[in-house]
Symmetry: C2
């Protein structure tokens, strides 16, 4: 599949690398067509990956992964262009963490909305699926790193078909179907985004980001 | 130990019942000294429990459990009276869930503060310990109901001695020390309170409140 990965940070590199490893054709998008990190990504995955602007990547991808930092996500997606996003699945991994006012970070969108909802409102013809935003990126693509892969990932979105397609991607990353918890519509992205302050405190308490939560009954 | 339980709802009844069962002397506090639910509680635990106003209970207790609903907690504690709370541990189980604007509920205090912090600010000489607010009350006092008791409870607060005492209470409820996660100071109550929207969505997805999260590494 042709997949756009927006963002050249650790999350974009990790997701993009896994997708190329799985045989997908990945274009990494950033503000400039010759972003240094994107060039390194292309070099690392010769023949399987390309790079371009946010708009180039979004035009290329059948699915678009938003791996930009939350505070810049709406702007990055606007640069990607509504015409390039219409009808497509946007897999939104971002969190609206605002570190500009010191620690602990606050959420720039919270309580009565979420970044997932804001993206869906801004691009009403795209299918926004919020997922994977509740953990360190190494676990996103390799859940087996801890507890034999037995822990949970959440998924939120309005479109059932889009959700089913993203679930297949998650399964290809190593997630067991029984550990993919469907929380409902995109409003439920408030839940996973507002979990971040707890995640950050657990990270602080445990001294490592290599952990996740498992729902037990 | 003499313990005050403020609140006559399911949480107060569950916590108060467990505490009397463990041999503590419990006074249940409410707005009026003759609250019907408090009278039933006293009848159920004859000889071990009494009831009174919020102020009566707070004056009686060496430790004060805040089991009132979040939207009314500050008012209830003000009725309990600063003089009756000074120097004491307030175990705060409440969540600032506001259902008045429809579903999903929003948090009345969020992001840049938490109800735990607001209580601590309002009663600076009390030792506020936030805990147990991330689960259904049946699990609070009986973690063994699910997964052999192997799941997590969080604890936040500024006073190390107070936290150690509350940990002992949690252990007497059945919590393994290794599953009591100390998140740090009372600011970390933001984490556990802001987890509630995710909890509510998981409840909706699973159809039951009898679940919790286990931190896996």
């Amino acid at each position: 599949m042709k997949i756009a990965v927006l963002g050249t940070g650790t999350v974009g590199d990790t997701i993009g690398s896994k997708l190329t490893e799985l045989g997908h054709s990945v274009m990494m998008g950033s503000r400039t067509a010759t972003n240094e990190k994107a060039m390194k990504f292309v070099e690392k995955h010769q023949g399987k990956a390309t790079a371009g602007t946010f708009a180039d990547a979004a035009a290329f991808g059948e699915i678009v992964f938003n791996c930009t930092s939350g505070m810049g996500s709406l702007e990055a997606l606007k640069l990607a262009g509504e015409a390039n996003l219409n009808g497509k699945i946007i897999v939104d991994l971002s969190n609206p963490l605002d570190f500009s006012k010191g620690m602990p970070p606050t959420l720039s969108v919270v309580n009565t909305s979420s970044l997932g909802e804001e993206i869906q409102k801004t691009f009403p013809s795209a299918k926004v699926i919020k997922t994977l935003n509740t953990m360190w990126c190494g676990l996103m693509v390799n859940p087996g790193l801890i507890n034999g892969g037995d822990h949970n990932v959440f998924i939120s979105g309005n479109d059932a078909d889009a959700k089913a397609k993203v679930k297949e991607v998650l399964k290809s990353f190593g997630w067991a179907e029984s550990n993919i918890t469907d929380l409902g519509d995109i409003v439920s992205a408030r839940g996973t985004e507002m979990y971040l302050p707890l995640w950050l405190r657990m990270y602080g308490a445990g001294g490592s980001g290599v952990f996740n939560i498992k729902v037990v009954k």
